[in-house]
């Protein structure tokens, strides 16, 4: 196969590319420049994908003796991931930009271009397994539970998965590092990347404030009493406990959590932990990794990249997906993805837009 290996400059994508070469594929390495910070007449410095990362990727490609190019997908990344991220927060939701990047950049813009240019597949360093099953290609959890990235790949449909290659899914991270060392890859000991790549300093609240400006509002408790103020509702996420800066202590002295963020009124509602419990969630725009399921299915639902999967029953109706959880989950924010699993197999995903503590879905937001 002709394989395009997306090489971030990290150890995972380098070993993934190496394994693709070992498998006998005709491999070309591509580093995606995803952020443009124009300076004078040349836009050179790259925020998230630094020149150093590009160099590390290039050196890995040199060692593998494969051609290597840098493709500028900064414009697509900005429009489809960064702007989407900001808009989601502005709307009071909590997006997962990695998932969006996989859906719209790596396995859309990049994959489509690769296919058009004559490649058969895109290989990445994601930790997930692809298994050819009776009904087609299946996406499964990686064998390393600590590194499993199947959650952020749950947005990929059958066509995208058919052209994906995840060579690391059967290996634990330590073994990947050891392999990189044996292969002589200089990135073997490079630290893992963390957090959101385009928020270089990790301070998401400040990043959002720079993009959205101050939008002061009230923090109220669940009786509607004003207990504090904030300078931007977008800085809050359902389930958040820290950084609330509440002026008025709770009557019972117990910690309070963000229960709701309403950007239209700028109102952030806080309350006790038990009010975060969610039994029901409603999600839009489901994407299925294989054939869409009929009507109802028993499955495991996971709402965070490294969250616990919870058993439940999903009901599919057109562009809607409702999930009734067997046991409550705490602090689910609109905008998060719910990814459905059957054992280790990823079935699909959808974007949560409403939750409920009871069997009834209250306060559905469009």
């Amino acid at each position: 196969m002709r394989v395009l290996a997306a090489m971030s400059g990290g150890v995972d994508s380098a070993v993934a590319a190496a394994r693709a070469v070992d498998a006998g594929h005709d491999v070309v390495g591509v580093h995606l420049a995803l952020s443009s910070n124009p300076a004078t007449r040349r836009s050179g410095a790259r925020g998230c994908c630094t020149a150093e990362d590009a160099r590390d990727a290039r050196r890995a490609a040199d060692l593998l003796d494969i051609p290597f190019y840098v493709w500028d997908l900064a414009e697509r990344f900005r429009a489809d991931v960064v702007d989407d991220f900001v808009a989601e927060y502005a709307a009071g939701r909590t997006p997962n930009p990695c998932l969006r990047c996989n859906e719209r950049v790596k396995f859309a813009a990049l994959l489509d271009r690769a296919l058009a240019l004559g490649f058969d597949a895109v290989a990445t360093g994601h930790y997930a397994l692809l298994v050819d099953g009776p009904t087609g290609r299946e996406l499964h959890r990686a064998v390393d539970p600590a590194k499993d990235q199947s959650y952020v790949l749950g947005v990929l449909d059958a066509r995208q998965l058919a052209h994906a290659l995840f060579p690391l899914g059967d290996t634990v991270k330590d073994a990947v590092r050891a392999e990189a060392e044996v292969r002589g890859l200089a990135v073997a000991r490079k630290p893992d990347s963390h957090d959101i790549c385009f928020v270089a300093d990790g301070d998401t609240a400040s990043f959002l404030r720079r993009r959205l400006g101050a939008a002061p509002g009230e923090v109220v408790d669940d009786s509607g009493r004003v207990v504090g103020r904030h300078d931007g509702a977008y800085g809050f996420t359902v389930g958040q406990r820290r950084g609330l800066h509440l002026a008025t202590p709770a009557a019972d002295g117990r910690p309070r959590y963000v229960l709701d963020v309403a950007p239209s009124t700028g109102r952030v509602t806080v309350g006790p932990r038990e009010r975060l419990a969610v039994r029901h969630l409603s999600a839009r725009a489901p994407r299925w990794c294989g054939p869409a399921p009929h009507d109802r299915l028993r499955c495991l639902a996971q709402v965070r990249a490294h969250g616990e999967p919870v058993p439940g029953t999903a009901r599919v109706a057109g562009d809607r997906l409702d999930v009734e959880l067997d046991e409550p989950l705490l602090g689910i924010a609109p905008g998060q993805a719910v990814v459905l699993y059957d054992g280790t197999q990823v079935l699909g995903s959808a974007t949560i837009d409403a939750t409920s503590r009871t069997d009834e879905l209250a306060g559905t937001r469009p």
Partner: protein, 401 residues
């Protein structure tokens, strides 16, 4: 990767001449710092000075006017910064730096740096749609307030699209107001006849690796009466204008290459232009909607003989380059930054091209080792490659709704 490579990127760098390699290897075996006073030092110094004389003779200048540098970028920096500082020191009013909009980044970014940190005001001289600097604009910009101009810098011929600039006319304008003119002739040397004696032309950049010499050596040819403030301070070599131990092997190789480049310029240019014309003719026939950038007059007076620069509508230059590279055909998308991301060419944009045309462009540049087989290889590949790159471009454009 294919074993047979068709190298069509001579404007980036061109193969070193075999006798240059031999001469450099010989010099590298010798010990001696050209600034040392003993026998080994004198031997090295002799090589440097003979090389300087060879270059001066080939270029029609005095040996003392040849200031060796580490290459074109350093020579451009020395010219632009050195002239600016010296002129500004002599008269504080001289803060305007007039450079053409299509200069190499070695000039453009240097000028920008002067603006950002040294109080300069940079004015970009516009070019016409074929990439030739607008002389009327130059007249206006200089004439409106000549006393405030520190220097003018206009390249001899553009490195991307190959358009030859009216350097003699620019020099006349500069001279009329006693303003120093610098010209980056990195691409012109060996390709065009260079007359460095034009009155008003004060500093000219040349480099070794575009003419069959080594990478890492060049010179600023600068009049003896031109005041320059050094960029590099130290041992006081090169008229105190450029300190640093002289690179004897590189300078020896550079001199041999300049000698050949100037002596063989007419025959090389004719041969290379013949290949280039064939490339343009058959390439344009195979891809009828390809746009030839630069001066449509292929004569030496208008266009470098080795450069064919096309825009392919709907294509991404990166895709074209990768597909050609996979077939062993090596070319360039324009000026690449250190991360390897091809930026839309400032040259094409200055010529009025939109972003799409700038992004979908490729430069094929031929040189002294180019053969008809190189052109044939490109001609055989270009049709399907453009078709495929266009399909890839359409895919992404379609998703971009």
């Amino acid at each position: 990767m294919s074993a047979l490579r068709s190298y069509l990127d001579h404007a980036a760098t061109t193969p070193v001449l075999p006798h240059v390699v031999d001469a450099m290897a010989e010099q590298m075996r010798a010990v001696g710092n050209a600034s040392s006073l003993h026998g080994s030092g004198r031997a090295a110094r002799r090589v440097v000075e003979e090389s300087r004389e060879t270059i001066a003779a080939a270029l029609g200048v005095r040996p003392s006017e040849v200031v060796f540098t580490s290459g074109g970028t350093e020579a451009d920096n020395l010219a632009v910064k050195g002239l600016y500082w010296a002129r500004r020191a002599a008269d504080r009013r001289r803060r305007r730096v007039l450079v053409s909009a299509i200069e190499h980044h070695a000039v453009l970014d240097t000028a920008d740096w002067l603006a950002e940190t040294q109080g300069a005001e940079v004015e970009l001289l516009p070019v016409d749609p074929v990439g030739r600097v607008d002389l009327a604009a130059l007249h206006d910009r200089v004439g409106c307030d000549p006393a405030s101009v520190a220097l003018v810098s206009v390249m001899w011929a553009n490195n991307e699209v190959g358009t030859v600039q009216p350097v003699a006319e620019v020099a006349q304008v500069a001279r009329a107001h006693d303003i120093p003119l610098h010209s980056d002739a990195v691409q012109a040397l060996g390709q065009l006849p260079l007359d460095l004696s034009a009155p008003g032309l004060d500093a000219v950049t040349v480099t070794g690796h575009k003419i069959g010499g080594p990478i890492g050596v060049g010179a600023l040819v600068v009049g003896r009466d031109v005041d320059l403030v050094p960029v590099l301070h130290g041992g006081g070599q090169e008229r105190n204008v450029r300190s640093g131990t002289l690179d004897t092997p590189a300078i020896a190789g550079f001199a041999l290459a300049v000698d050949v480049a100037v002596a063989e310029q007419p025959t090389r240019a004719a041969r290379v232009a013949g290949l280039r014309d064939e490339l343009i003719r058959t390439g344009s026939a195979l891809v009828p909607d390809a746009v030839l950038n630069g001066d449509p007059d292929l004569d030496l007076a208008h266009r470098l003989p080795g450069i064919a620069h096309f825009s392919f509508s709907g294509c991404d230059g990166d895709s074209l380059l990768m597909l050609l590279d996979a077939q062993g055909i090596e070319c360039s998308t324009g000026s690449a930054c250190s991360a390897g991301v091809a930026q839309p060419s400032h040259v094409l944009q200055a010529m009025g091209a939109d972003l799409e045309r700038a992004r979908g462009s490729l430069r094929f540049s031929l040189g002294h080792t180019s053969t008809p087989a190189d052109v044939d290889a490109l001609v055989a590949a270009i049709g399907p490659v453009v078709e495929r790159a266009r399909a890839a471009g359409l895919v992404n454009a379609a998703r971009h709704d």
